[in-house]
């Protein structure tokens, strides 16, 4: 942001205004998508586990916005927003959830393990934390080939207890790899609270043991996440090694849609909902002089239409043929190996 210009009472440059409105749209779109998914799940249109990231939109939005094409992202199971932020068609995401042939895995897996390497999004597994070494390997490739890219790995405070996370971070520290680790600390690993997960206050405090910096921010404050993210990504892209960002947040819904989350205190949920990232950002926009009521209406409508289009695409897609279960297990000889990598383009969000 051109602070001096604003401070002088001048008009803020148009690109930054548009960028912030775009960030707002992304958060709203991700929330609308998540809410629609929850509803579709209640209507039995989506089977299997659905893991809502409602309440955590500021994290994926703030972390992914400064990324370039070709930067590698390993999302976790609550990060539908990462796919949207990376440019994956929401229709394909919805098709993935419905087990349709047009989904990212062509019906092979439920939402949370779809991947799209054409958009440099790595499909995770249910062994949470195991994508940390993978992101480290992607960063190793970037360093070896002198690619101007970074890898970003998301994980939860629960996964941070796993050995894979330690092994990956330790190696990244040793080799000063271009990787940003993002902990979405939403206080619960299924039903297990933070206090039973770790004896220290912050996951970020562990970074010192790996030889790099750890930062803590409010995961419900888009601008706070964005500020850390822009700095961390720029630093690691410049060769200064890994960074760990811990975003403190809260999971609105249960571990999955099947989970009523009765192990939580109702007041705790209400308190966190009062710090919802979306109204907070609306307040910021309003303070900057935007007509938030008008913008909200416009953006809600855009998001609603995008989600509706996604649902229609998914519902109109065919289910896979039974025998397709045996496809995509092995790469045939001569198959192209490396994904059609997006160009590592110039600055800024898509």
């Amino acid at each position: 942001m051109d602070e001096t210009n604003v401070a002088r009472g001048g008009v803020e440059p148009a690109p930054r205004v548009e960028y912030e409105l775009q960030l707002y749209y992304w958060m709203k779109l991700i929330r609308a998508f998540e809410e629609r998914v929850s509803r579709l799940h209640r209507q039995n249109k989506i089977l299997g586990g659905v893991y809502s990231g409602a309440g955590q939109e500021a994290i994926v939005t703030g972390i992914c916005a400064p990324l370039h094409d070709g930067d590698f992202v390993a999302p976790l199971h609550r990060d539908m927003g990462v796919f949207i932020m990376r440019g994956v068609d929401p229709g394909r995401l919805m098709a993935q959830l419905m087990g349709k042939e047009t989904g990212l895995s062509r019906g092979k897996d439920s939402f949370l393990h779809g991947g799209d390497l054409e958009h440099a999004v790595f499909g995770s597994t249910s062994m949470l934390g195991s994508s940390i070494p993978v992101a480290v390997g992607a960063a190793l490739k970037f360093k070896m080939k002198k690619d101007p890219n970074v890898a970003v790995a998301f994980f939860g405070e629960g996964a941070s207890s796993r050995g894979d996370v330690h092994e990956g971070m330790n190696f990244a520290g040793v080799h000063k790899l271009p990787v940003v680790f993002v902990c979405e600390n939403n206080r619960y690993a299924y039903s297990t609270p933070l206090e039973k997960q770790m004896a220290i206050e912050n996951v970020a405090d562990r970074a010192v043991a790996y030889g790099f910096k750890g930062h803590v921010c409010s995961g419900n404050d888009l601008l706070a996440v964005l500020e850390l993210s822009e700095r961390a990504i720029a630093r690691t892209r410049a060769g200064e090694g890994p960074v760990l960002i811990e975003c403190k947040t809260y999971r609105y819904r249960g571990h999955s849609e099947h989970d009523a989350a009765l192990y939580r205190d109702a007041e705790e949920l209400i308190e966190w909902q009062s710090r919802d990232p979306i109204p907070s950002f609306e307040f910021y926009l309003e303070k900057k002089g935007h007509d938030i009521k008008r913008i909200r209406e416009q953006i809600d409508e855009r998001a609603k239409q995008a989600v509706q289009a996604a649902v229609e695409f998914a519902e109109g897609s065919r289910l896979p043929e039974p025998q397709e279960a045996l496809e995509d297990i092995y790469a045939p000889p001569g198959a192209p190996i490396s994904p059609k990598a997006p160009n590592s383009s110039a600055n800024g969000a898509r």
Binding site: G137, K141, G163, E167, N170, A341
Partner: protein, 326 residues
Amino acid sequence: MEVTYIKAINAALHEEMRRDENVFVMGEDVAELGGAFKATEGLLEAFGEERVIDTPISEALIVGAGIGAAVLGMRPVVEMQFADFIACAFDQIVNNAATLRYRHGGKAACPLVIRAPSGAGVHGALFHSQNPEAWFTRVPGLKVVAPATAYDAKGILKSAIRDGNPVVYLEHKRLYRSVKEDLPEGDFTVPIGVAEIRKQGGDLSIITYGGTLGQSLDAARIVEKEDGLAVEVLDLRTLLPLDREAILLTARKTGKVLVVHEDRLTGGIGGEVSAIIMENAFEYLDGPVRRVAAADAPVAFSPPLEEFILPSTNKIVDAIRSLAAY
């Protein structure tokens, strides 16, 4: 020039790294030391520390980082210092690497080679003797190979490096310096998924691979000389996917099959080979498919215990005679 099994592996690594700059090597002590068994000797000097990487003791990282590099078009060859240690990377191999293409809808590949020095008979005891193939041969998405000759060690490793899938490459430690042969000059590969007849015969078939190929051939020669039995020996070479055609061909030809492997009996690949034959060639059989394998015990240390547990030429000879007499 005669080349040992370990030198053949080393040569394959040198040649592939020279041929393709995306090939790199990573593992514990692979750089300056050249590997615990010297499989990666000279690579650091030839290709530098960017492509020959010593890692911390972190098997999950070694495989996981290999996966991350592989999906971006690199061709990592990672080393588990001993096959026993592969258990520490089990999740990364069976859940992450093996399902990678499937969960990406066929739009990704994981050209990763995991080299694992396996096998017993070198007094390695419980944690330096294991044959972990059965852990992996039932995981779709993986390929599992186990070469028994220097030629195959080199040719199959080259194929594995050029393959678009994760390959678990089991090299038998006892063969490192005991097996040697003249290798042709220049580039050659051995296809994955194709078994090889090592000795022709019409009376009985031995189906084997890896560490027990030599013992099986020795046993076949003994019974040929002493009993006049013509034993055919089929070397599987690849354990996943199995060369079902070659298995059935030899079973139909001789009508009597003995499966030999150093891995434990229960749940070993011998059971699968036997079932393939029973389902598809039952009417050709003149006797039950039999197995010689390690006892269902950890590989013990003290020589009489280790010998009791492991297959040997004598045990194979006894099994051939018993099956021939059936």
